[in-house]
């Protein structure tokens, strides 16, 4: 885990060698055979080499610097030995805390679900924390994050208080969406979390729109705006039309967006290999004229390195990037999923690559912090999560009066009733019992 990121941003399909194979050889202890990497032993698909020339014509003209070159440059410039590391102590602790928060929160969600405190579809993020932390911790408050139904941890990483997220899950009125959204619709205007979408692929155009606003503000309104949008979605979404349509539009207009694919190899019970003609998602970026990168999504430092470059590109106005993070979810698709289809060996293998354990190891080995400090963080997070549950428990359920609020931004949209008054003026409207 102490190795530096060796992913390369593949500019076009004619790049030299497959990033994945290079990466594999650098793993300090985990040399994998291709079949176990892909999850299902029976398929045993070989790792594809990019050396197969696919598209002979390179359409891009902008140059993209490979991450490894950037990292090497940084190393050459700095003098102290500490700079050999990818993160400082403060950064390390921030990353660690964020991932522990994500894990502890999701574990608590599972407990609460089985105790009957929350219902419906709850999708947990265990195992994928490196992606969320690696990307979102680089953002400013004004940058936007768009996610899917597996959005609790994205909201937490972006800064939404755990209390608000837990309340939302309990369906209480103090939740971030007043209890009206639920697990799959986490929104926060303050922290610029634009959702939370139940249908996959639905959020990608919204993210593209947020990036469009950023460009619009810069070019039409002439504001000093370099806000970036991150769109998170999974491998299943990458077969959806909205994904491709948005890749096209984002590259066409050079929108400041990063498309982050959390490829955890499974879409409920559908293996990525069974659903996709060409499973290497990062390759689809260059087809639309943007760089496609593949990165080990179980390693937060590698994700962070790629993210720095991709977010930097977007901020500088160089356009979008497609980042495929190879990651894995330790739990089932949702709390209702019995998770019987996945090979236990595969699950065991990824359990050994737990991103939190890996980061802890990195921090301790490089003496960035002591065991005690990390334990203190864990304890603090436990308290935060406990407090959020308490808060959510004590919060009131929404009153009936909340039923008709927020349907329209302008409640005159409910129209004019037979008595000539707007329906929203009916006193029963605020009680939630009006006829609308």
């Amino acid at each position: 885990m102490a190795c530096s990121a060796t992913t390369r941003i593949i500019h076009n399909p004619l790049a030299i060698s497959s990033s994945r194979s290079a990466e594999k050889s650098d793993f300090s202890c985990k040399i994998l055979s291709p079949s176990s990497f892909w999850g299902s032993a029976s398929l045993g698909k070989k790792l594809l080499s990019v050396n197969k020339a696919i598209s002979p014509i390179s359409r891009r003209s902008a140059t993209v610097v490979a991450v490894s070159d950037v990292v090497k440059e940084k190393k050459l410039k700095s003098s102290s030995s500490v700079s050999n590391l990818l993160i400082t102590k403060e950064e390390g602790l921030v990353l660690y805390e964020d991932m522990v928060l994500g894990r502890a929160f999701e574990d608590m969600c599972a407990q609460m679900y089985y105790r009957g405190k929350m219902f419906g579809f709850v999708h947990l993020y265990n195992g994928q924390e490196a992606v969320s932390t690696g990307f979102i911790k680089l953002l400013k408050k004004e940058d936007c994050v768009v996610s899917t139904y597996r959005d609790h941890v994205h909201a937490l990483s972006k800064g939404v208080p755990a209390r608000q997220v837990m309340s939302e899950l309990f369906g209480k009125t103090t939740g971030c969406c007043r209890g009206q959204g639920g697990s799959m619709h986490m929104f926060s205007k303050e922290h610029n979390v634009l959702g939370g979408f139940a249908f996959i692929g639905e959020g990608i155009p919204v993210a593209t729109g947020a990036a469009f606003t950023s460009k619009y503000k810069r070019e039409v309104l002439k504001e000093d705006c370099d806000e970036v949008t991150l769109a998170f979605f999974g491998d299943g979404t990458c077969n959806n039309g909205q994904f491709f349509e948005c890749l096209n539009m984002a590259a066409l207009w050079k929108l400041p967006i990063v498309f982050v694919v959390e490829n955890n190899l499974w879409a409920i019970g559908m293996s990525h290999l069974r659903a996709t003609s060409d499973p290497e998602i990062w390759k689809k970026g260059p087809a639309f004229g943007m760089p496609g990168v593949h990165v080990d999504g179980m390693d937060v430092l590698k994700v962070r390195e790629v993210a720095i470059e991709a977010v930097g590109r977007a901020r500088r106005g160089e356009g979008p990037t497609l980042v495929e993070c190879e990651t894995y979810r330790f739990r089932g698709h949702s709390l209702a999923d019995p998770d019987e289809l996945r090979d236990p060996a595969e699950k065991a293998h990824y359990a050994t690559r737990d991103p939190i354990t890996a980061l802890k190891k990195y921090i301790l080995e490089n003496k960035l912090a002591s065991e005690a400090e990390l334990k203190a963080i864990e304890k603090k997070i436990d308290e935060v999560v406990e407090d959020s549950v308490e808060f959510a428990d004590k919060s009131p359920v929404p009153a009936r009066s909340q039923l008709l609020e927020n349907v329209f931004a302008d409640p005159r949209g409910f129209g004019i009733g037979p008595d000539g008054k707007y329906r929203c003026e009916d006193p029963k409207f605020t009680e939630g019992t009006a006829q609308v």
Partner: protein, 436 residues
């Protein structure tokens, strides 16, 4: 509360009937009442002017006062009391059918107004709003360089630039989603569907995101988007280009739908829709783009939730919208010659219905005919029938007659196409049957 209580007497100078009721639309009585005399500067209807004259111990509140322009309610000639034959005959214009000239105010004496076609009126409204607010932008296929397939956005791209009048690739779902994302982050986009039928591809975004996001985000994000485009049965355009999407969209909670039918209301509704913070779908009709009318020079904005009184009458209420308004007016000519006195209301607001105007009419005539271009099954007429039955059942002397298009994919052949939509002869027959 912007409406006076029912205890306030109507403003008519004639004796009050025992069934006086609050009358929002009563214009000033002095000669000859122009249906659309602009009221003094106040945000809502003329009734505010009325109320000022009345007893001062009544509290009058206006929701908002806008002093830079005035709202005009295109209604105006409702009689103030029921069964007052003298007032009725005084108001009835000798011209049986309200022609376009009658419907339009020539505004103040100093400004004569200007004549233009409906698509130009839409463009004028759009341009005024784009001038007024730099966040207003247009997105759609061929809206920029091509000027719009019906020329509604002609000349806007050279003036405002390619980003403000954005030519999108052919990806309705995604660019509608993009517009929604942009609306969430501060812009006010107008999405043009080249033909409303294409928006079937955007149904995912319109239903899930456009309609619902304000609610599921607990009111945090508003979606001030306008979705517009031509629909309806044209001249042998074939089944797929002749669709009426209002029936499919009407169930989506959180959106408003309006249909324009004259240059005057096209411009007014366009402006109102853009200024509204709610998502509004503006239905235009392919065959109405070349209608010519004289509209005021002053700026005006119409009310999204109100219906328009086209021709006051006594015998039967005919409710219609969009192109069918003209079939109805043609039928009305015949009906008047046969001695009937139909009251024609252009409902304009398809969702929500203006039950006040409609209700007042039903209470007067006790007979309703709905003439629409939607399909018989599940169309606007079906909803309107249910709504009127629910609210005004006691006032009906006969079951509501709903004339809709046949539940048939619009055929290409001209003769067949003619038989799928309601023709004036059918309207005449229905009214005669009803008034027997």
């Amino acid at each position: 509360m912007w409406l006076c209580s029912p205890l306030i007497h109507s403003y008519s100078s004639t004796s009050l009937s025992s069934r006086h009721r609050p009358n929002r639309h009563n214009p000033p009585p002095s000669p000859p009442p122009h249906p659309l005399t602009p009221p003094p500067r106040s945000s809502f209807s003329v009734k505010v002017a009325c109320l000022i004259d009345l007893s001062s111990n009544l509290e009058v509140h206006c929701i908002e006062r806008k002093t830079s322009f005035f709202f005009i309610h295109c209604d105006g000639s409702l009689t103030s009391g029921l069964n007052l034959s003298n007032s009725r005959s005084a108001r009835l214009s000798t011209n049986a059918v309200a022609t376009k000239q009658d419907n339009v105010t020539a505004s103040t004496a100093s400004k004569p107004g200007h004549e233009l076609l409906l698509f130009e009126a839409l463009r004028e409204g759009l341009e005024e709003e784009m001038e007024r607010d730099p966040r207003v932008c247009v997105m759609g296929e061929d809206v920029g360089h091509y000027g719009g397939s019906y020329k509604v956005t002609k000349g806007l791209a050279p003036k405002y630039g390619d980003l403000r009048v954005l030519d999108t690739p052919i990806a309705e779902n995604s660019f509608t989603g993009m517009a929604i994302g942009a609306a969430m982050t501060g812009l006010r986009p107008i999405v043009e569907g080249m033909n409303m039928g294409f928006l079937l591809l955007a149904f995912n975004q319109i239903s899930n995101n456009c309609g619902m996001l304000h609610y599921t985000s607990g009111g945090q994000f508003k979606i001030p988007i306008v979705i517009r485009g031509p629909g309806g049965v044209g001249r042998q355009l074939g089944a797929e280009h002749s669709q009426r999407l209002e029936s499919y969209f009407q169930s989506i909670p959180g959106i408003q739908m309006v249909a324009c039918s004259t240059p005057y209301n096209a411009k007014g509704l366009m402006k109102a829709a853009i200024r509204s913070d709610n998502p509004v779908i503006l239905f235009e009709h392919v065959l109405l783009y070349n209608l010519k009318e004289r509209i005021p020079d002053e700026e005006y904005v119409l009310n999204l939730e109100e219906a328009e009184m086209v021709r006051p009458g006594e015998h039967v209420t005919i409710l219609t919208y969009s192109r069918m308004r003209y079939h109805v007016m043609q039928a009305a000519k015949t009906l008047v010659n046969k001695g009937y006195d139909p009251e024609v209301i252009d409902i304009r607001s398809l969702k929500p219905f203006d039950l006040y105007t409609i209700g007042n009419s039903v209470k007067k005539t006790h007979r309703v005919v709905i003439v629409e271009e939607c399909m018989r099954t599940g169309g606007i007429g079906a909803s309107l029938t249910a709504s009127i039955n629910e609210n005004f059942h006691d006032y009906l002397d006969a079951p509501i007659v709903c004339l809709s298009s046949q539940d048939v994919p619009t055929p290409y052949a001209g003769t067949l196409e003619e038989w799928t939509v309601v023709q004036p002869a059918q309207i005449v027959a229905a009214v005669e049957q009803l008034c027997r």
